[in-house]
Every structure is written in C-alpha cells, then in structure tokens.
C-alpha cells in the first residue's frame, strides 16, 4: 500500500481501496500500475493542497456535498474560488514552517548500505535543508557503534535495523533506554547470496552444515534467514552456522571461502555478484513481500526535549522516502549516494539495486522494480512480528506485552499525524496482517503464531 497519493483528487475513493478506485486494494492497484499510485508533482504543491483541502473540508464538512461541488465546478475552479477569499499562499507558508526547531544543527548516523537511502539522500538532495535543519549525516562503522553513539547523544537520531530500537528499549544487548521509531526506511531490499560453487544447491534442504553471515543479531536479516531455514526443516541453531559479520566483510569472506552465503542488504549482495564471487539465490521479497528492514530511530529523550526538531526531521525523512519511492528518481538517487562521502560504492551496483534491473550472478539479467522500496509508515504489526521472532529464537525470555512494546516503540500515531499534516494519506490502522512465506500473521494473536512453529529454540 503506497502512502503517497493525492489528497486533492475529486475522484479519490472514500472507501478503503486504492486511490484510483478501480482496484479492490492498493496492492492490486500497484500491481496494475506497476510503479504505485501517482504521487503529487512537487512538495510545495502538496503543502498547498493540504491547506486547500483543510479549508475545503471546513467549508463542506460533508464528503458528499464537497464532492458534488468539486464535480460540478472542477478542482481548479474550486481552488481559484477558495483562494479569492482565503489567503492560501500565506497559510501554506505558515504551515510549511510549522514549529521552529529547538535545535537546528543535528547529527544523524548511518551505515553505508542502500537501506539508508532516504537518510543519506536527504542531505545531498536538500530535504533536511527544506525543513529548516542543518543535518550532518555521519557514516558509522557498525550496528553496535551506531547504537552506542546514539545512546551517548553523539547522534541525535540514527539509521538502525528495524528490531534494534525494540531491543534497546527492552534492554537486550544494552541497557534499557526508551527508543522510538517514527519511520521505517526501506521495505524489501535484502537478499540471500550463495558462493558461486553452490549454484546447484538451490534447495535450502541441502544446506545442512553451511556457514552463513548476517549483519547483526537483532536484525530482520537474522529473523528472515532463520525463518527461511526453519521452513525448509533446518534448525538454524544446530544445522547451520550463523555468524554476525559486518556487511563489507561479507563479500571478502565469501571470496575467501570462509562463509557459504549471507543474507545481507542488496548493495552488498550486488557487490558480491559484481565482483563475481556469488549469485543471488533469493530476494528477501520472496520470503516476505513488503517486510521492513531498517528504521529511522531516536531516543525518547530527544523527542521530548526537541519535539519540533524531531518533527522536522521526521518530515524530511518522510519526504525523502516519498521521493525515493518513485521509480523515475532512482537513477538520480543512485548517483547522489554513491560517492565516498556517502555509501562509497560503484554507481553501477547501486543502480542495479535501486532500479531493480540486475545481474543475478548466473549470467542472467532480472528485473524487479520492487526489489527495494521505500515506505515510511511504522506498522506496529511489524514490531509485533519481530517480537514473536525474538521470542522464538530465545532473545526474549519469559512473557512479553507485544502490543505495549510495539506501541511504545513504533510511533504510528505520531507519524500518522505528521503525514496527514504533510498531505499524505497514512493508513487508518497501525496493524496490518501480512504473510511470510505464505503463512498469514495475525498481529492480534502473537502467542498462537509463535506456538505454531515447530522449529524454535526450547525455552
């Protein structure tokens, strides 16, 4: 479901479904359109339309009456009529300024992988500046370091793996410090790469005894790989070896034959293919289409001491995510984030990741426009799923209040409010059901879901 559709569209369907109204759901619409719903042309225009639609709604509180009016005179005439007696321009400016940020010079940490695309590109493409912030994006050596630096307040906010803020808030692998996620960075965009010598071992059932690398223990990579292996009947704790390895070292280790494969961010996968040491076995999208991967996280303390800075930062990230979600911008983004100051990787590699036309390492060229996608909405059901997996693999012992933790860490309500203010249409609920490898997950029944797995760590 794309969150970036036009709010000032008289034909917009008011019932749940997709924006153009011709499909039963947003997913179907996206499949038909190929690239998602048509977003607005420019951000300024979008703000203008937010204000305009607010005025419009105030004048015609009833949807049906407003619609009749719009239908009869047309949207542009209505807008012109409105602006005659309401200073739309001034109102838009006032709106765009929002509250002045308490702190303008901010530091945001990132790990050089394509998951961080919105955080990184917001600097060279000016999204932070547009929201009145002077943000320095700082490259960081690893997940543990980014966690410590954010906890130590060297960074005001940071790029983290989606499960990390949950783990930090629960005090797993660190002191418990309340963290929050206002936006998901990317969805999909990971992959399982195997060494070229395993090109005939495509069935995971044959993977007993292999060594795999994952970026971090509290990562979607870990949970997805374990899930995938367990579905094939392998116990990830006893039948294979899983090692936490920093992403750049994965390619070198694969070349040196220290590992047989890895589940890693796409630019690392593509780099292994680019250097001719491995092939793409599976995109993470094929395990769970639309899974979250990385998040944009900040401590509760920062949010309460500098709420306006935090709101501006979130707006910039949501804006950047909206921009990154459009296929036509992807080439430009690849060029913007490739230099040594940002990801530091060959442009060809990043382009293959972001445009979705890529070499698979076995001599074929594949295309999947949704190989990586960007959608900021922090679904609380994502957090609940991660908690079930943390429990499944023994990272959490004892009982856990899924809903409370998810709602404390994943700020769906705040993000919803911000997105509405920005003229985007957030989903109405913060929980959605989804399927992982064909198995439906019901966020209301996490314990049942957990109990349904045969392979899990004995607790």
């Amino acid at each position: 479901m794309s969150t970036f559709d036009n709010p000032f569209d008289p034909d917009r369907n008011l019932r749940p479904g997709c924006a153009c109204g011709q499909h039963r759901s947003a997913e179907e619409h996206e499949q038909a359109a190929g690239l998602g719903c048509e977003p607005v042309e420019s951000e300024e225009k979008r703000y203008e339309s937010v204000v305009a639609s607010a005025v419009m709604r105030a004048m015609f509180p009833q949807d049906v009456a407003r619609r009749a009016f719009l239908k009869s005179v047309g949207a542009s005439t209505a807008l012109a009529a409105l602006s005659q007696f309401f200073p739309l321009k001034t109102a838009t400016e006032v709106f765009a300024q929002a509250g002045a940020p308490e702190k303008k010079d901010l530091k945001v940490g990132f790990i050089p992988i394509t998951c961080a695309t919105p955080i990184i590109m917001a600097a060279p493409l000016g999204f932070y500046a547009k929201h009145g912030l002077n943000v320095e994006v700082v490259k960081t050596a690893g997940w543990a370091v980014i966690r410590d630096k954010t906890i130590n307040k060297e960074y005001d906010a940071a790029h983290m793996l989606a499960p990390m803020p949950i783990a930090i808030s629960l005090g797993l692998g660190a002191n418990a410090i309340p963290f929050a996620v206002p936006a998901i960075e990317n969805i999909n965009g990971q992959g399982i790469v195997l060494a070229t010598k395993h090109k005939d071992k495509r069935d995971p059932k044959d993977w007993k005894g292999l060594k795999f690398a994952i970026p971090f223990d509290y990562s979607m990579h870990n949970y997805l790989l374990r899930y995938y292996l367990a579905e094939a009947g392998l116990d990830p704790d006893t039948d294979v070896q899983l090692r936490s390895v920093p992403p750049p070292e994965m390619v070198a280790n694969l070349r040196a034959d220290n590992i047989d494969g890895f589940l890693a961010p796409d630019n690392i996968c593509q780099r292994a293919i680019y250097d001719g040491v491995g092939f793409m076995h599976l995109l993470s999208k094929e395990i769970w289409d639309g899974h979250p991967c990385c998040s944009f996280a900040a401590s509760r303390e920062f949010i309460t001491t500098a709420p306006n800075s935090f709101a501006a930062l979130t707006r910039a990230i949501v804006d950047a995510t909206a921009y990154a979600s459009k296929a036509e911008n992807r080439k430009q983004i690849a060029e913007a984030i490739a230099p040594a100051n940002y990801i530091n990787a060959p442009v060809t590699v990043l382009e293959q990741v972001l445009t979705g036309t890529y070499a698979d390492g076995l001599g074929g060229v594949k295309t999947d426009a949704k190989r990586v996608d960007f959608d900021p909405f922090p679904w609380q059901s994502f957090a609940v799923w991660m908690l079930t997996q943390m429990k499944r693999w023994g990272q959490i012992k004892g009982d856990v209040d899924y809903k409370a933790v998810a709602e404390q860490v994943y700020l769906a309500t705040d993000t919803k409010k911000l997105m509405t203010e920005m003229g985007l249409t957030p989903p109405s609920s913060a929980y959605k059901s989804f399927a992982v490898m064909g198995k439906t997950f019901d966020p209301a029944k996490p314990e049942d879901y957990l109990a349904s797995f045969k392979i899990r760590k004995a607790s």
């Binding site: 960081t140 050596a141 410590d148 750049p248 070198a252 100051n341």
Partner: protein, 281 residues
C-alpha cells in the same frame, strides 16, 4: 670511514634491488590471468572488471601508483564529513596520537619517577602494571565508549592507556637502576631531594626513559588505526575502513604505505631525542 660509506652504498643497492624484485613479482602475480566466462553484453555491463575481464581482485603496483599520485595531487580536499583528503585524515590521526601520547607522557614520567624512587611501591605496583600492559586497544574500546560516552575522547583515552605502560615501566626501571654511587655522592654533598632528582637521577635515567617513550609512540600509532576503524568519522583508520567498505584494496594498500611511513617518521624523531640524551659511561 671508507668501509662504512661503501657498506652504506652496498646496503642501499641491495634495498633498491629488493624493492624492484618485490614490485616485479607483485606486478607479475596480479596480471589478469583468470579465465573469463562468456556473457551477454547486457549482463556484462552490470558486472565488475573482475568478472568481465578476469582482472585480478588484487591491484597491481601500477594501479596503486596511479591512485597514489591522485591522492598526492590533492591531499587536502574536503567533500563533506565522510570524505576528506588523505592529508586531512593523517592530520587528524597525528593530532589524536599527539594528544593521547602527551597525556600519557605527563602521567607516566612523574609517576614512574615516584615509583622508581621507592623500591616498596615499585614492587607493590608491578603486578598491576604487568596485568594492564598487554591489554589490546580494541578490548579497551567498548569500555571507553560506554563510560566516557564520547567517541573522539574514547579514541584518545585508548591511546593514552595503551602508550602509558612502556613509558611507566621504563621510567621506573631507569630511575631504580641509577648507579647507587652517584646518588650517594650527591647525598654526601648534601644535595636536596628535588635537586638530586633533577640533576642526578633524571639525566642518568633519561636514555631509558626515552627508550620507553620510543616504544610508546610506536604503540600509539599502532593503536590509532584500530581505534579509528572502530569509532569512524575521521583519521587514517577511518579511511582504511571506508575504502574497505568499497572493497577498494588499492586505497587500502596506499593507506598501509602511508601509515608505515608516518610511523617510521615518529620513531625516527624519538630516536633522535634518545641520541641527544645518551651519554657514554
């Protein structure tokens, strides 16, 4: 005189021959020889040179030389917080090493002096120093980050804590092993304790102390690369890590070369100081 200069000449010639042989073997070993699989041009466009032309994953000396020239041409560029010229990175590293090392000198030498003058203390503290001395900088790092809560100060702290021990031990040893006769003569002449420390013990212990300082600067320079790889941001260690991220072995080799040269220069400076204070007995 004649023999030493000809020995030096011959040693120089051997050094150059060794270097040439090394570069030659390196060049031959990294020529592209790997077989190339046939692939469609569309596919080849998406692949790197290693895969398409069988280029060795290891760069040859010519690649490294060309890249080094590029770096030397503009050592001080600044493309934002995560990409600065090698000159700037080296300056950051040297500044960090300098700060941590000077702090260590300020602590180690007076402390070593006091310990060395008291046989009781030097025996009592010895086990602690021996335990703390062999700890790797990377082992200190998480502790420092956690307690100091600032990565750049942590890096300096790690240099401080790693370079302090050789200096401390050498100062203690140097002070403790000043010849008893000299101290006794000073005592007979009724030289005060402070004056005795500065005019008799310090000059006598200076060569040993400076040897300790020389060992320490080497350790500090070893530590900085590891520390910067971990905390990131700036410095030559960060440069190595950043280029490693991009699997750019060429740049890593260049960094290795520069780290070696700077380390040698630091060592030579201390060696010169040591020669200045050495005295014939």
């Amino acid at each position: 005189m004649m023999t030493t200069s000809s020995l030096r000449l011959r040693a120089g010639l051997v050094s150059i021959a060794l270097l040439a042989a090394f570069l030659g073997i390196w060049h031959l070993a990294t020529r592209s020889t790997a077989p190339v699989a046939t692939m469609s041009p569309e596919y080849a466009k998406l692949m790197g040179l290693t895969a398409t032309q069988g280029k060795s994953a290891m760069p040859g000396p010519l690649d490294v030389g060309a890249k080094l020239w590029q770096h030397l041409k503009r050592p001080f560029y600044d493309n934002g917080p995560n990409d600065k010229g090698l000159g700037i990175q080296l300056a950051y590293s040297i500044a960090r090493v300098g700060t941590g090392y000077l702090l260590a000198v300020l602590v180690a030498i007076p402390l070593g002096f006091l310990i060395g003058m008291s046989p009781l203390l030097s025996k009592a503290l010895d086990p602690f120093i021996q335990v703390l001395k062999p700890i790797s900088p990377l082992a200190w790092m998480p502790l420092a980050l956690y307690t100091i809560k600032d990565s750049s100060i942590s890096a300096i702290f790690v240099i401080f804590i790693c370079s302090i021990w050789p200096m401390l031990l050498n100062t203690v040893f140097g002070v403790a092993s000043v010849r008893k006769e000299w101290v006794n003569v000073a005592r007979t002449l009724e030289v005060g304790t402070v004056r005795r420390a500065f005019t008799v013990i310090l000059p006598a212990a200076a060569p040993t102390i400076l040897t300790g300082m020389r060992i320490s600067i080497g350790i500090a320079w070893l530590v900085i690369v590891a520390a910067e790889m971990l905390v990131g941001g700036t410095g030559v260690g960060y440069f190595v890590w950043n280029e490693w991220n991009n699997l750019s072995i060429t740049n890593v080799i260049i960094a290795i070369l520069l780290i070696g040269i700077v380390g040698m220069l630091l060592d030579q400076i201390l060696a010169r100081f040591t020669r200045m204070v050495t005295f014939p007995e």
